[in-house]
Symmetry: C2
Subunit: 314 residues, 2 copies
């Protein structure tokens, strides 16, 4: 397979979204559309597309049936309890103990045959094709296990900021799909989003250390926005929680500001997470000039366009 990377250094790829460069934070305007396709492309309606464009996200409650969710949860349990899985580089453990926190590359059949099918589910892929106005491939995928009693907080961040600086994603043309495997409500620390914040880009302060990902996936310390910029953003746009029953889908823009509080309730909050990137937006050299992160965090080699498939989840 051929790597689809165009090295920024050799092609002088313009950095429209510099971050972690200056000694003070800056808020820049977004240079890219949020929605690239139209309602005529389907399956999302004009109203849904407008909502996605305005808010930067869209919740589709109970998208998968209880029967499908049960199968997903059985797969999740099997992965969590598998010692071999926990020792893979794709496995990220909780800071305090050895429980699985996240498992990457679940869209690859060798990691999870079932979740790899979900990643190419026709209904999901067609929505991402429509939003991004192109074919898509999986930039990153993972399952997040946010257990009851001990789910750690995740501070505010724009995914794109990290993908741009650390992975070389050139433009804002990616959509994340979070599939809720548990009911998410106001108690179990659901994802919080700042609706409209996808239109602004907070350039962060601080240099990226080498091999930053080995710690940042547990607790991010650079690439996080400053308090004053966040304060202003939340004052302007407010906060919305991504809540819904198990089986719901949350589609959200790569640049929307989001995070979550810790979860002391007994109620877990696990989810499947697929990032669909446009095939017009393949990675180049990281704009932060670090080493490339591993393939399981940022696809460079294995990024064929996804062929949408009609899948029977049995």
């Amino acid at each position: 397979m051929t790597a689809r990377t165009t090295p920024a250094a050799t092609t002088n790829f313009e950095d429209l979204y510099p971050s972690r460069v200056k000694s003070y934070p800056e808020t820049l305007d977004r240079q890219d559309p949020v929605v690239y396709g139209t309602a005529q492309d389907g399956p999302l309606t004009e109203e849904q597309l407008n909502q996605y464009e305005r808010d930067g996200f869209l919740i589709l409650p109970a998208f998968f049936s209880d029967h499908e969710v049960a199968a997903f949860r059985a797969e999740l349990s099997a992965l969590r309890d598998c010692q071999e899985t926990k020792q893979k580089p794709e496995a990220i453990l909780e800071p305090d103990h050895s429980e699985l926190r996240s498992l990457f590359s679940v869209h690859r059949p060798e990691i999870s045959p079932l979740f790899s099918k979900v990643a190419s589910d026709k209904r999901i892929v067609q929505m991402t094709n429509q939003i991004l106005g192109s074919e898509v491939y999986i930039h990153q995928s993972r399952v997040n296990l946010k257990p009851g009693f001990a789910g750690k907080e995740f501070f505010w961040h724009s995914d794109f900021e990290t993908w741009h600086v650390e992975d070389g994603m050139p433009r804002m043309r990616a959509v994340s799909c979070s599939l809720l495997l548990d009911q998410n409500d106001e108690f179990n620390a659901p994802l919080m989003l700042v609706p409209g914040s996808q239109q602004e880009y907070i350039a962060c302060v601080g240099e990226t250390p080498d091999d930053h990902y080995q710690n940042s996936l547990r607790r991010q310390e650079v690439g996080i926005p400053d308090h004053q910029s966040l304060d202003e953003m939340v004052n302007q746009y407010g906060i919305v929680q991504g809540v819904g029953p198990a089986g719901s889908i949350l589609l959200f823009d790569c640049n929307i500001m989001h995070g979550s509080n810790s979860n002391i309730t007994p109620l877990p909050r696990s989810n499947l997470f697929f990032v669909y990137n446009s095939t017009s937006n393949y990675l180049v050299q990281p704009f932060g000039n670090q080493n490339q992160r591993p393939e399981f965090i940022a696809s460079r080699e294995d990024c064929e366009p996804i062929v949408p498939q009609t899948i029977t989840h049995d």
Copy 2:
């Protein structure tokens, strides 16, 4: 002033609520009423008393005016910014940095003239007199500063469990009054309560180390209920959030199970906290047989019945 302590050892005070004794957790029934007075005593109505008895708490939205809240917040700012205050033993700092997390004994004029007046506010004291069916004194008071961005979680606990084991509070006959100094909503990690849980007492596992309070006020590690008991409790009773605008009051029983998630939002969640104990329920020797905790955490010397006062907050 005379200490009102009756040493448990010399009087054979029966321990109705043993905890941190056995190597396995146990759930015991409550042996005491939740409400001791009647609607005839006023000011709470029969409906409010019934609700308090059933749920173990009562929210009185916007109990104090915006004008009063502004004065309370000014006092809070002054205390927070005072270096001298931060060096007092009554001051508890955040684990990660030197910000003030809690300040105890704010009902004493030498700590805060204004908050000491609030503690004897006629409207509050009469409600606690009514619930407890007796005169009351302040067992403990504090102001909790839950700042934006970095408010730490507080794991599930019954206050009474600690006050019984570590302070020698004999019976369940105390009511806490939390006065919200900021709007509390689903975003900024409000207090979560398990309604009805005041009827059960989870005897915890684990011995109490000496001078436990020096760490437990920042991050409690013993005297916390086990996961299985909590899981069953939440399954049975559910969870309610103590939300309301700034100036609201939350009255809650000493034995209700409660806790809070961390708060990554820019929105602070500060509150004033007074514990009114019945004058029929003065402290004895700690049932856990540790050293007594300091006077600023558990009043023994200075516990005259409060005379309710009509106060002008100007």
